[in-house]
Amino acid sequence: MGLQGATSTPHLLWFFGIATCVKLLLIPSYHSTDFEVHRNWLALTHSLPLSQWYSDETSPWTLDYPPFFAYFEFFLSIFANLIDPQIVHLKKGLNYSSNTVVSFQRITVILSDLCMLYGVYRLTKDLDSKRRTLIWVLVVWSPMLMIVDHVHFQYNGFLLGFLFISLSYLEEGRDLMGGLFFAVLLCFKHLFAVAAPVYFVYLLRHYCCGGLVRGLRRLLAMGAVVTAVFAVAYAPFVYHGQIQQVLRRMFPFGRGLCHAYWAPNFWVFYIILDKLLAFFLRKFGFATPTPEASFTGGLVGDSSPFSILPQITPVTTFMIVLLALSPCLIKAWREPQPGMVTRWVAYAYTCGFLFGWHVHEKASLHFVIPLATIAVQNMDSARHYYLLSIVSCYSLFPLLFEVREYPIKVLLLLLYSIIMWLVFSAKFTDGEEAKATAPIKKEAGHVAAKKGGFLIRGIEKSYLVGLLVVEIWGQLLHSIFFGERLPFVPLMLISIYCGLGIVYSWIWQLRWIIRSPES
């Protein structure tokens, strides 16, 4: 086992190297306003004293991540200043997008992916080399990370790295370290706190056990560690009396239930149901109020954006998420198994995605990538991951709306589907002969459907074919049949269709968790 470890770690670096070459080539591609957001954070952490970081309003892209991320941007800004001082100039650097700043920021994302590399290495180092290689291929070459981090522009790679490191410690049984890294992660991006209930219950039952005294001592130890981490992050702001401002920035609940592009979650169906009900009730002559508020804007006073169905508030979504999480929490309470932690945490992020408030479609990364690490465990998980990753990746397509990136995102998804199919076939059809090849059509979903070996069921096949139909409709047929009218329909179709897939994934995960055997 040790020898295999020695020979296969260079493979991980090799996979990473190939991905890095592609990432370097993608440097001049489209980047979203998130790019300017991070550039602005570089500027304000560099040019302003700490007490003004969370209150500066020079740019509309204000700092809304927890302090560790701000320290991270401060660290990067030192190098940015050496390379090109205009990057970190508060006023002159506004909307600065020359080659230097683009290359610099893109390269920081590429380098920060090393953290994810370490995380996935740590998470898989006790597996056999075959399984390990397959997981590395699935994670390091994930098209979702490529699209979101390296084109659209974000820093999800290294945050997921911290998550993986934390999960790897938990799986090893070193709960204190696991808790420490999770606390660190929370101080980088508080969105990861959706899994906090799972962590809390698991650590309480797994770590703080073995009698009252020992349990209490361990509880205090864990509490001390977490408090210490939070202290390091927030203490300077408490000292400057800025803590209220920090919290206000981090939790802007003035936004609407949905993001401008509806993330494919449960609320899409809720909204559609409300609209349909309103439409039919109006047809039958009932007087239904037309809502003043919109779904994507903020809450307008007391008025609800819904005509028929009850209003949804942030608190409501919070309760529903907890409710959805409860089976998982109960399982974790009854039997805290280290082997199930990754699945529970992924489930937590799935619930957060499906039922949360103002969810971005990018948040699907939080549960899809961790699920890649358990996809090779058995055929069922592999099939589920195959479907889920294709659907989530496709739901990210509207992020790259420029024509230039169209072949790139399609090829990324196509390549990943082919790789996944090859990887899962290799793992699950050992010794079986592959059936004769049918003529190959270069379409996602079709490739898997036509080959033998790794099989997906008919309903899943047709769902994937449906993705193709949705895409053709959005790109081609809609403008032919409708011209310029109803321009929101293609995007809405994507949200709804992918939402179905995500709900399916949620149900599958829930079933798996409930049915997992207790020893």
Binding site: G17, I18, C21, S129, P407
Partner: protein, 458 residues
């Protein structure tokens, strides 16, 4: 047939398979591996297309991109007879067509495509120097589609044919060879960066090579004649084709009929530049005396090298021509391929710097090195170095240093092209060395094959 043989090979090597990190890529056969690698190669090409092209934003003449766009403008707006004639509507001094008619027909088809989606980019006169987001995108897509439709199927055909005669070949070797051919950094940088259509003529050439290796000589003649008619530089390979096919014909029952059949296929489409041919007389003679598939591939390499080294007005992009047979021979001569790719890239470095393609240059070079040195269960492929490693390391260090010097320092005023000259001299020296090596290899090949044939006759 191939898959069954391949699968049998796989079963024999079951023990080493478990540790093989590439089993997932190759276990479904050549077609699946090719598909996977081809989609990746297309992705890399699409990514390279994001970068600048030659002459971007550089009036009045711009560069190769503008030349190709201009040819589309000329071919769709003027009748066929006017395409090569100097007239008021077709000013030959502004990027006149200087490739044979197949390039013109291809420009016509692509011009129709551009006119359908973006007419302003190819309208007569008014589109000169047209540079727009959408125009660039459409142009890049014409190269991508040409590559996918011409070069990729040709490589697939070649791989099938080449490995049909090598039943003991390892599947991972086949996948490696496919990757080496499809992820050739020079071709990607020139076609999808600088902007050209070498993929079409090289694709036709590879198809012709594959046809020769599978004994379909008429198809080979046809495809190679098409290649010649797309870019006359394909004539670099003509001696090799001619000598091999002629040698085969002589051995048939009715040589005159065979030769006239080939001649008929070739005749209406041939334009040659003959004088450099004298420099590759040995390779030419060698193939007539004892034609073999192996010898044919080496003949291609030597013939192309001679033309490149001694021809008049050779562009640095012409290094793509010797590079092609080198990549076809990748499994036999891995070090040769690595060395020629390295110096081919380096010889194009000044050109790519002018086009602002430095980033893709380094990214694709890194990608090539990674693919070349990919992790593999078998190690013996790596050990086939036959050159002094101190010398090679020194040369590599010199080259790296020259890269840095070229990017960072200014040449002295008296010798403004000093750095280019030094780079070209270094590359030239390596090409000459490699040329000698491959000529020597082809000769020693002749002797062994000749001797084997003699033994068979006895």
């Amino acid at each position: 047939m191939e898959k069954r043989r391949g699968r049998k090979v796989m079963k024999d090597k079951e023990e080493s398979v478990d540790d093989d990190p590439w089993r997932w890529l190759v276990h479904k056969g050549i077609v699946a591996s090719f598909l996977c690698i081809a989609v990746f190669a297309l992705l890399v090409r699409a990514a390279v297309s994001l970068h600048p092209y030659s002459g971007a934003g550089n009036p009045p003449k711009y560069g190769d991109f503008e030349a190709q766009r201009h040819w589309m403008e000329i071919t769709i707006n003027l009748p066929v007879k006017e395409w090569y004639r100097n007239s008021t509507t077709n000013d030959l001094s502004y990027w006149g067509l200087d490739y044979p008619p197949l390039t013109a027909y291809q420009s016509y088809i692509h011009g129709l495509f551009l006119r359908f989606f973006h007419p302003e980019s190819v309208s007569l006169f008014t589109s000169r120097g047209h540079e727009s987001y959408f125009g660039k995108l459409l142009m890049r897509w014409t190269v991508l589609s040409s590559d996918a439709l011409m070069f990729f199927p040709a490589v697939f055909y070649f791989v099938i044919v080449y490995y049909a005669s090598r039943p003991h070949g390892q599947k991972t070797d086949i996948a490696w060879h496919i990757a080496i051919m499809l992820l050739n950094p020079c071709l990607m940088l020139i076609d999808h960066g600088h902007f050209q259509y070498n993929c079409i003529s090289l694709g036709l050439t590879v198809g012709a090579v594959a046809a020769v290796l599978s004994n379909k000589e008429l198809v080979a003649c046809f495809l190679f004649s098409l290649a010649l008619n797309h870019k006359q530089m394909s004539a670099y390979f003509a001696p090799a084709f001619f000598s091999h096919l002629f040698g085969k014909c002589i051995r048939r029952q009715n040589p005159l009929l065979e030769v006239s059949k080939l001649g008929l296929v070739v005749l209406g489409t041939f334009v040659l530049v003959w004088w450099p041919y004298l420099h590759s007389m040995e390779a030419f003679l060698g193939q007539i005396r004892a034609p073999s598939n192996q010898g044919f591939l080496y003949g291609l390499l030597n013939s192309a090298f001679s033309f490149y080294i001694f021809s008049f007005q050779v562009h640095e992009k012409s290094i793509l021509l010797p590079l092609l047979p080198a990549s076809l021979l990748a499994l036999e001569e891995p070090f040769l391929l690595k060395w020629i790719t390295f110096y081919a890239l380096f010889s194009m470095f000044p050109l790519l710097c002018r086009d602002e393609l430095i980033l893709p240059y380094f990214a694709l070079s890194a990608l090539f090195i990674l693919i070349y040195h990919g992790p593999s269960g078998r190690q013996d492929r790596r050990k086939r170095l036959s050159f002094n490693s101190v010398v090679t390391t020194l040369l590599v260090l010199c080259s790296v240093l020259l890269h840095i010097v070229y990017i960072t320092m200014q040449p002295p005023n008296r010798y403004p092209f000093l750095f280019e000259a030094v780079i070209m001299f270094l590359c030239f020296s390596q090409f000459v060395v490699l040329c000698f090596y491959s000529n020597a290899k082809q000769w020693s090949l002749k002797r062994t094959i000749f001797m084997d044939k003699e033994k068979k006759l006895l």
